[in-house]
Symmetry: C2
Subunit: 574 residues, 2 copies
């Protein structure tokens, strides 16, 4: 495709995206497809117009699942592996061809598909399998929205693609990220320690809150081991100890004793960081009377238990806005406990809710001052409620050395004069991967277009709609709010208003309701289980935050819930 | 921005991208900016036209580095933190405002910037700081190219953004990835075990080769621990043991004994995986006579040494196409060693070179048959030489349970009926993060547009140009090829043809040449250090693979190298 062909195809793609958004309100929010719907429609080998005629019906006897059970190529028509080089095929290149395939694939001279054909397939084959996260009636999981401004920013990013690992890879990529992350820190009201311009802390864009939490955990582990090494060897605090400098004996002896904490309400990113690093993550109990938030006493007790067992506490993940109910952990209480143990590190995960720090009226409830005082690192996703398309996780650390001392690996082929001089940031040393996308540009587009006020208006709209929904549910027979609105999120359940059933029975009833809703194309809601030592409540989450969501959208979806609820209640009573 | 505004801005963005590519040949490949060039140009607070007047010159006495040394806001003009909610500010929300900032920021009512202004800033501020990886004369690191087809695919991806962690998130995203990864496996000639349609192996798209190698290392660690647990507990091989099922005592006792291997030529992703997981990575020596490739004997010897010390070998990373010289490890030799130790796992990193498996004539040299016979996992980056924009790492495993048994964490809020039924793939259990971009679509666009032949033609062009360059260097006085062409890569150095200097002296000479080239705006080359027990050679890499690169581009850049080489030699002799 040359430049002029791209211009045409690009305009057409823009038009198609416009059509998509113009018709979105008329679509059902949920993809109405069954598993395998697309696999069945696409050829298993190269798309080749002339090949289609040769596809046969499935030979399921030969293949367990997936592609091959749908279409196989007629072996009678095959003539060798890849392309025109057949004549020159050496023995090894023939050998490598999948020996278990019951046929040889015809990959010769596939016709090039012109963009208009691919675009048509996008419409007819891909779009039906899209769950419309941009739909005004999407209330599942968390908002995961994109804006036109973000799409534009990403287009510019794609056009100058580069792996961005060093400043030299493309200075603009590193420096724009420094600037927009400092903007974000200020918009969110973060302490100046978290600004890159502070010279010691800083922000970087990661691809997900899980990745950021994992990165924080690694930083915490290494800091704890350095602390132990310092204590053992009499190093002063000022000495920088890179990972390699932690003596092997100390690493071997102490790593296995390290233990990290969160609550039963911590996002699975906590357990997953533990699983990835092979370290125990203790999910501490929360209580209904604390609004499912983790308290300092609970942490303190767990730490003391573990120390008595000879273990070493090294990390707690505090959450601002839990996934299940939007609970906000008692950050200051946790922080006061953390302070007592020199090996401890606090990461605050605010993947969904943190963006609401942009709203001054929410800062107290969301404990921003406590985060500012106690957190070593903090993460919120601009790609959830924050108007920027996936991926754009905002990750801030109070001391960038926590990252660089854990993650800096610089072989000869990655050295640069600027990196050696220490005058630039090489973000590869702040993250797990080497390469990275130019993600700051979409954030730049969004922030400049929306402004603080635009972002605040959008966030307040979600909060207000959730308040309206709560009022409505309170007035609706046979429904109750389980956890009250936290920003744009609430959870509710179906109950029998007369003779109240037990939680166990209600859980079954709501599992049935949830199953009914899972089959309804107009409803995209997700469920959760609120577990405490005292109770276990299955409920349904309603997460508001779409860019175009209106009160009518909310009401409409809840009217479906009401109708399905009636049916579920009738079935249950019968 | 509404749909019609987006249409206009989108067309304009397409036009700007077209202009960029039309003018690219006239630009210098390297960004001609100094550290801080962009930070100095952008306001540290919100971009706000009226605010600019209030910026003052730096107060460097108060701030160490970065943004704040460039611009600070006049405190006299400040009137509180964020937006119009000032009047309702509660004490805590005031408290959270960065206490160390010597001023209060004015974030009130920032004007919305229209796309045309942002786009203009992209041209005037961002583009000058872009190193042009898409330039025909880019020969640094490795090719990191994008095609118009990839840009189009990414636009469609952005338009339906979603976090894609479950099949239900958007069925199309999961299923298209299954299909195109099976296409890629076939195009590369991978064993059918690596196809998702095999039912047991499969491919998934990661964001970088580092991430994939890390994921493979975690899979390897868990498989080794399960193997040890089985041996200890008499489980049969058929039992599936998830991470949680490895007894804590076994995990604690054995994790610290695990050791992984690669060579001194393994990409830093090996060392980094070790650093991240807190496990030792042994960089084994290679030799010049083996072409810097790792041999089985070397691995065997290291393993035996470690076993004698009571350690447990669990992983080797074999490389097809090392970063420094394009060496191909002796995969079959390594594989035969791996087979002898039940806890061992082999990951093959072919980040750059693996895409060339699409060329039948390269398969023998690149040891495809050996990869097919011995590798547990394999990674190559479509986003390097493979015509797809960053990020698109193709990661294949022979047994998907190696991933899911290490990484599956499913809390209540992530359960779906399809996931519970096991009829779909939930890629979150194949990777570190939860969320993921819809990346298969850019690969789909590229594969359908280019076809196998288009991809092959592109790859062969790079190989041929490198051959031409090698011939030219051989005929050039005072230059020698250090490692011969491996696909599109060779390394060379400056020598004094008369009285030959020692390697040590030549290394200094070439470091000087490299420094001269680093300052030349028309040259983008990178250096490396080839280290063996016998020698240490500093040389310059020439990595060819641009989409539009011609012989003239190659010759032109090398003519600059020749001229700078002359200058370096003169200075050296003087």
């Amino acid at each position: 495709m040359d430049v002029e062909e791209f211009r045409k195809a690009g305009y057409a793609a823009i038009d198609q995206i416009c059509d998509y958004y113009n018709t979105l309100p008329e679509r059902n929010v949920k993809a109405e497809v069954e598993p395998g719907y697309l696999v069945k429609q696409l050829p298993m080998a190269w798309p080749n117009a002339s090949q289609k005629k040769r596809f046969q019906k499935p030979r399921t006897d030969m293949w367990p699942t997936g592609l091959l059970s749908s279409w196989v190529v007629d072996p009678g028509d095959a003539h060798g592996p890849v392309g025109e080089a057949d004549a020159s095929l050496s023995l090894p290149s023939l050998l490598v061809f999948p020996p278990r395939l019951p046929f040889a694939l015809s990959l010769t001279a596939p016709p090039r598909h012109v963009p208009v054909e691919i675009a048509a397939d996008f419409q007819s084959k891909i779009i039906p399998g899209i769950t419309h996260w941009q739909h005004g009636k999407f209330f599942g999981y968390f908002p995961g929205i994109v804006t036109f401004e973000s799409i534009l920013g990403d287009m510019y990013s794609s056009s100058v693609t580069n792996p961005g690992f060093n400043w030299t890879c493309s200075p603009a990529c590193t420096e724009l990220e420094q600037v927009v992350m400092d903007w974000m820190a200020q918009i969110l009201g973060l302490d100046s320690d978290f600004l890159t311009s502070s010279g010691h802390g800083g922000g970087t864009i990661g691809n997900s809150a899980s990745e950021c939490a994992l990165t924080a955990t690694i930083a915490a582990r290494e800091r704890a081991l350095r602390t132990i090494a310092r204590q053992s060897n009499g190093y002063s605090d000022a000495d920088s100890l890179t990972p390699i400098d932690v003596p092997t004996a100390i690493r071997q002896e102490h790593t296995k004793k390290l233990v990290m904490y969160g609550s039963t309400q911590t996002h699975s990113l906590g357990v997953k960081a533990g699983v990835i690093l092979g370290m125990p993550f203790r999910s501490l109990p929360v209580h209904v009377e604390d609004g499912y938030a983790l308290r300092g006493d609970t942490l303190k007790k767990a730490i003391e238990e573990d120390i008595a067992k000879g273990l070493t506490p090294f990390m707690v993940i505090g959450t601002v806005g839990t996934t299940s109910s939007g609970a906000v952990d008692y950050i200051a209480e946790l922080g006061e406990v953390v302070k007592q143990y020199p090996t401890m590190f606090m990461h605050v995960d605010a993947a969904w809710a943190g963006i609401a720090f942009a709203l001054p009226e929410q800062r107290e409830r969301l404990r921003l001052a406590e985060v500012n005082k106690y957190a070593d690192s903090f993460c919120t996703n601009a790609h959830k409620w924050g108007l920027v398309g996936f991926d754009c996780s905002l990750f801030f650390v109070r001391d960038r050395r926590d990252l660089t001392e854990a993650l800096d690996v610089t072989p000869a082929f990655l050295r640069t004069k600027e990196g050696d001089a220490g005058t630039v940031i090489d973000y590869r040393n702040w993250q797990l991967s080497l390469g990275r996308r130019f993600r700051s540009i979409k954030l730049w587009f969004v922030l400049r277009s929306y402004g603080v006020e635009g972002l605040q208006k959008h966030l307040r709209s979600g909060v207000n709609l959730c308040g309206e929904l709560a009022k409505h549910i309170e007035q609706t027979p046979n429904f109750e709010i389980v956890t009250p609105p936290s920003l744009g999120l609430l959870s509710f359940r179906l109950v029998n208003d007369g003779e109240r059933a037990s939680d166990e029975e209600l859980n079954k009833l709501n599992a049935d309701l949830n199953n009914r809703l899972a089959h309804h194309p107009e409803v995209m809601l997700t469920q959760t289980l609120l577990k405490t030592p005292e109770s276990e409540i299955f409920c349904i989450r309603f997460a508001i935050g779409g860019r175009t969501t209106t009160l009518d959208d909310v009401k409409h979806v809840f009217s479906v819930v009401e109708a399905e609820g009636k049916a579920a209640l009738s079935a249950w009573k019968a």
